[in-house]
Amino acid sequence: MADSSPSLSVLRRRISHIEQQRPISEGVQISTGHEAIDTAIGGGITRGCLHELFALDPDDAGSVTGFAAMLALRLGGGILWLRQETVQKVNGRLHAAGLLEIGLDPARVIVAVLPDPVSVLRAAADVVRCPDVGVAIVELWQRPAALDLTASRRLALAAEASGVTVLLLRVDAEPTPSAAQTRWAVRAAASAPLEANAPGYPTLKIELLRQRGRPAGGCWQVEWDRESAVFRPADRNADTPIRTAPPGAMVSLPRGGSDAAPSLVPLRRTG
């Protein structure tokens, strides 16, 4: 069939345009640099997916923020960090100098501080649809009613369509059913002290609570190595699963991609 129809060629151009704009192709796994974790999650953190990071204890807010920043750093691309105002009030401002200390260039980060969960989720929907965003970090306080299964599903679908990775940060919250690809609980852990018993490098205890399509479980104590931007094992007896997954089922999400015509899927979803 010849390109006689102008509308068809326009359509083609638009499709190829959309494909070009994607920073990363769908389904790429980004290694955490930590072998055991990578193995547990099938090679690494999946781009273009929704991942949930929990600080079950509000005291772990710094740790979960750090984990999000570290993952975002590894995932690459521009970072849009959406924060609910309450989080900002309770846990303080995101401090650019601290991001830098993690190794994350603050110039890569744009922060939006929004009054309530609804506006955060609305903005998130917009952000996740923008294919040029590398990582969208969505930070919510406790358990907002607006964040129901539908909202989470919407985010996941949009992420898949655009290739944007969504990290949903939940401080002082218990997991609820969601469409996330992985779900983590992050806690602070004692660091290996430096000379003169000085606090050492960022050390976290991260637990894989759930993941879609693979067995959950696993808890690792990791230390963040800023210079090589990798997680490395912090405790020598690592890799022993400590807890099983808590309640809050993971809902399966129909995967686009293989069934549908690949080039048309994004068009339908973004249009």
Partner: protein
């Protein structure tokens, strides 16, 4: 008292570390004494320009204590320099343990000075390796400078310390732990210091101001070019012990280093150049010989009693103070000028110039016998300072005399004294005002009220004269800071013509710098320093009037009025001339 740890601050800068140190050397010394330190080491950046001031301060404090019948101050002043290298080597503070070591240090600094433009000093680590004998070295190193430390330790075994500071910058103890490891591995002892830049914490604002002047910025824009806190002051031994809790031996080590230094500034024994005295003659005998010969020529073989008496008095005084070399050196210069073809007119002045010895040596043309001048005025027994003779030369030909001095004594033995250029009220107001962000019209207004004034303080009324309220906080702050920075040295310059001549290498007594003018070199001590250390200075000055007189003499000769010189014209008793005067 006895349980107080002994501590000496051995890395103390003064305001002779221009625009870095924020206290006078004297303030550093008196604060160190007040804090009951065992001693202080004054070490400015590539210079020893400030050490004599510290020496004078301690001498005065001791004299005052003695006068008040107070116990002697148990305090030692050691002097050296902080070597700052052009090749990225960390700073190394060097203290001469002996007089020989002092000569090594001053020669090292001279080497760096002569390599650079005026006011700069370019040193490389390799230079230090050539001059380490009798120097005790404190390396202000980082943990990563191990290689340098090993190299230096091998070059100066047993004479290297690793400087450790606790500047309250967060990771102090961690850094100290690493330095301790490095010290242990290299066998170099750690030494505690606060790397002091000012005497008390109250000087932080002033230090910030000089930092801004140095960086060419304003206080609001300087940001982290400024120090984050006020910790770089002299700290009491107990506080240093507390800071160095993890490494008490580093504090003890300051006393060890202090005790290893035997050199004191008064060991700089000055020796006059020997040139003016022929072989086989003692200076006093030679002086008496030529003066007596000249006296016989003038007053007849049979000297009048008055002359004889005067000569005896003066010879005694010169012998007692060992000034023969001094007079002979001056004579030497004058004779050189007179022997030129055509001769260079010259004329001595100053208190010592009233002496009959000077008259008979041809240094002056005023016969003290005729004018009844008293020679003994020129030296007071108490001052014990060298006599003061300034010699004026025709200004167009003075350079010939100066180059003659360099030629006769060599550049390594002759140098012009320094003049320390200080902050004057106008420059202080302008620069401090600029840093504080005051508008130019305010600083100009303040500056203009002190225009032409050489007073060294900014009196309150000058502020009111400029229409500014001294009670206004911004103005009060300006006033306070200007008051502090006044009399701060800004840079060294060369004196108009004060020469210091030595028998041995001058650069083993004091570092030498390149002057602004070609073929001029000057030393980094000024008149007061030279007096305090009893070095000899001859002032070789230029006087336009002498050129004028010489031209008049030339004219007279050309018009058949015969040859004239200064002596004849002055000794004439022409009534008309006196009436004209």
């Amino acid at each position: 008292m006895s349980d107080e740890p002994a501590f000496a601050e051995l890395v103390a800068a003064t305001n002779y570390s221009f625009l870095r140190g924020a206290s006078h050397p004297s303030d550093m010394v008196s604060e160190a004494i007040a804090l009951k330190m065992a001693g202080i080491g004054i070490a400015d950046r590539n210079t020893v320009a400030g050490v004599v001031r510290a020496y004078i301060a301690l001498r005065n404090a001791r004299e005052k204590a003695a006068a008040e019948k107070l116990p002697e101050i148990p305090f030692e002043l050691v002097v050296g320099a902080r070597l700052v290298f052009a090749d990225g080597t960390p700073d190394i503070v060097a203290y001469p343990a002996t007089r020989y070591g002092w000569g090594r240090l001053t020669r090292l600094l001279t080497l760096g000075n002569l390599r650079a433009q005026k006011g700069d000093c370019i040193l490389h680590f390799s230079d230090l390796l050539e001059y380490t004998e009798d120097l005790l070295l404190i390396v202000m190193a980082q943990e990563s400078d191990g290689a340098l430390l090993y190299q230096l330790r091998n070059a100066a075994p047993g004479r290297v310390w690793l400087g450790a500071t606790m500047p309250r910058q967060g990771s102090d103890r961690r850094r100290l732990a690493r330095l301790m490891r490095l010290g242990q591995a290299s066998g170099v002892p750690l030494i505690a210091t606060n790397d002091a830049l000012y005497a008390t914490p109250a000087q932080r604002p002033l230090h910030d101001i000089v930092t801004c002047i140095r960086e060419g910025t304003t206080i609001t824009q300087a940001g982290r070019k400024l120090a984050g806190n006020a910790e770089r002051h002299l700290k009491a031994p107990t506080e240093m012990a507390r800071l160095f809790r993890d490494c008490p031996q580093a504090v003890a080590e300051t006393k060890v280093l202090l005790d290893r230094i035997s050199f004191r500034l008064h060991h700089l024994n000055y020796e006059y150049p020997h040139e003016p005295v022929p072989k086989g003659w003692k200076p006093q005998r030679w002086l008496q010989h030529i003066v007596t010969k000249a006296a016989r020529k003038r007053y007849g073989t049979d000297l009048p009693d008055k002359v004889r008496k005067l000569l005896r008095e003066e010879f005694d005084l010169i012998r007692n103070h060992q000034y023969a070399y001094y007079f002979l050196t001056v004579y030497d210069l004058v004779r050189f000028a007179r022997d030129q073809k055509p001769p260079i007119l010259c004329q001595g002045r100053g208190s010592a110039a009233n002496s009959i010895v000077c008259f008979l040596l041809g240094v002056t043309s005023v016969d003290p016998v005729e004018h009844n001048l008293l020679f003994s005025r020129f030296v007071s027994e108490e001052r014990k300072e060298p006599p003061d003779i300034d010699i004026d030369f025709e200004h167009e030909r003075r350079e010939e005399v100066m180059q003659h001095i360099y030629h006769r004594y060599g550049r390594h033995r002759a140098g012009i004294a320094a003049t320390v250029i200080h902050y004057r009220p106008r420059s202080a107001v302008r620069e401090v005002g600029k840093v504080l962000g005051l508008s130019e019209d305010i600083t100009a207004r303040l500056g203009s009220t002190v225009w032409g004034s050489f007073s060294s303080d900014m009196e309150e009324k000058r502020y009111t004269e400029a229409g500014l309220d001294p009670a206004n906080p911004a103005i009060a702050r300006l006033k306070d800071l200007v008051g502090q920075i006044l009399k701060f040295p800004r840079h060294l310059s060369q004196h108009v013509g004060g020469f210091v001549l030595t028998q041995d290498r001058l650069d083993e007594t004091v570092p030498i710098h390149n002057g602004a003018m070609k073929d001029r070199t000057f030393i980094e001590w000024d008149k007061d320093d030279i007096d305090a250390l009893k070095l000899m200075k001859v002032d070789v000055l230029a006087l336009g009037m002498l050129t004028c007189i010489r031209k008049a003499f030339d004219l007279m000769r050309d018009h058949g009025l015969g040859d004239n010189d200064l002596e004849i014209s002055l000794s004439s008793k022409d009534k008309a001339v006196y009436e004209m005067l």
